[in-house]
């Protein structure tokens, strides 16, 4: 049984000392998921090697901002996928990427999915031509501002304010 306290401790332990953190020089593939503006961006770098006639993952690294669950999952996943082929990794479910955490509650599944999306972005064959960028979400599907939006984005759209000191008397 993975109680909320147990899970939090496992996530904290994995996020406190993340493995494979940082950009990987000379990577063969790079994948990104999430949005930097909202602080939940995750980027993964992958380098392959030949082993027994197969192309397997030699090393994977990541960078992430924001969600510590995503950091924990990415740390565990980059260890787990070493030695696997791209096809084997693509066949893994989000839960299989971080078995050390145990089952995650639904409210944290999105963190695992973020890592899975970044991995798929790096490992899936790229289309010959670049697709057109998606249009902005319509008002009907746009998300409400997140907590992070509220305290990291400027409160006024008019740019940098001028600071006017008040007199002390």
């Amino acid at each position: 049984m993975n109680t909320p306290d147990d899970l939090q401790k496992r996530i904290e332990a994995a996020a406190r000392d993340p493995q494979n953190l940082g950009e990987l020089q000379g990577a063969d593939a790079v994948g990104t998921a999430g949005s930097a503006a909202c602080g939940d961006l995750i980027r993964m770098w992958i380098k392959f090697k030949e082993q027994s006639g197969k192309k397997v993952i030699d090393k994977a690294t990541f960078q992430s901002f924001g969600c510590e669950t995503a950091i924990a999952v990415a740390s565990l996943a980059t260890e787990l996928i070493r030695g696997k082929t791209a096809e084997e990794v693509l066949a893994m479910s989000p839960e299989q990427l971080a078995p050390g955490l145990g089952p995650l509650p639904p409210v944290r599944i999105h963190c695992t999915q973020l890592v899975e999306t970044a991995l798929h972005s790096a490992l899936q064959p790229q289309p010959a031509s670049k697709p057109e960028p998606s249009p902005d979400p319509s008002p009907a599907t746009a998300l409400a501002p997140s907590l992070m939006d509220k305290f990291t984005q400027p409160p006024h759209p008019a740019g940098k304010p001028k600071i006017i000191f008040k007199s002390s008397r």
Binding site: V107, A144, L147, M148, F151, P161, K162, F165, S168
Partner: protein, 181 residues
């Protein structure tokens, strides 16, 4: 206008009636903190709970108590000053760099993406962290964000740096922000 919420209300209405609802949702259920766990304004509370496998009645009770939760998150300037006399307190300033350089509480660190990663990865979750802004309007959201990430002793400075200057340390200059029109 009826000030109670029902499972069929859109999140927009829930937030109108309970401005602290989003903070309450993230603190307890990890919902609404970032784009990945966000919700749409027109999504109903019932739908939000269904896709997150939550009991809607429990969520409504939790949201209804959000005002009290917000009160408990705040620390008064004089109380913070008294704590600082006993020992160092981790202070996080979430204003702009320009404001930080113009006036700040001594010992505070300016919030940034790298600092956030440092906080989430390395700061002790059971130690006091006080977050402040200019007037105390955004720091509640920041405190709730870190509470939702397991920081049990995070607080925000009531009234922000402006109140700190008025009530605890007049050496820190007060200021206003003027935007180009």
């Amino acid at each position: 206008m009826n000030d109670s919420i029902t499972p069929h209300d859109a999140m927009r209405r829930v937030l109108e009636i309970y401005p602290g609802a989003q903070r309450a949702l993230f603190r307890r259920f990890h919902i609404g903190g970032c784009a990945s766990c966000g919700f749409q304004p027109e999504e109903t509370l019932e739908d939000l709970c269904r896709r997150n496998n939550l009991d809607v009645a429990e969520v409504i009770r939790h949201i209804a108590s959000s005002h009290q939760q917000d009160q408990e998150l705040q620390i008064a300037p004089r109380d913070l000053a008294a704590l600082r006399q006993k020992g160092p307190v981790r202070l996080v300033d979430i204003r702009t760099r320009e404001e930080f350089e113009a006036a700040r509480i001594e010992g505070a660190v300016l919030f940034s993406q790298p600092l956030m990663q440092e906080i989430l990865g390395h700061w002790p979750r059971a130690e006091l962290v006080v977050i402040y802004d200019h007037l105390g309007r955004q720091s509640l959201d920041a405190a709730a964000f870190f509470l939702g990430h397991g920081f049990t002793q995070v607080r925000c400075l009531r009234g922000g740096l402006d109140a700190w200057s008025s009530e605890a340390d007049p050496a820190v200059p007060r200021y206003e922000l003027e935007y180009a029109t």
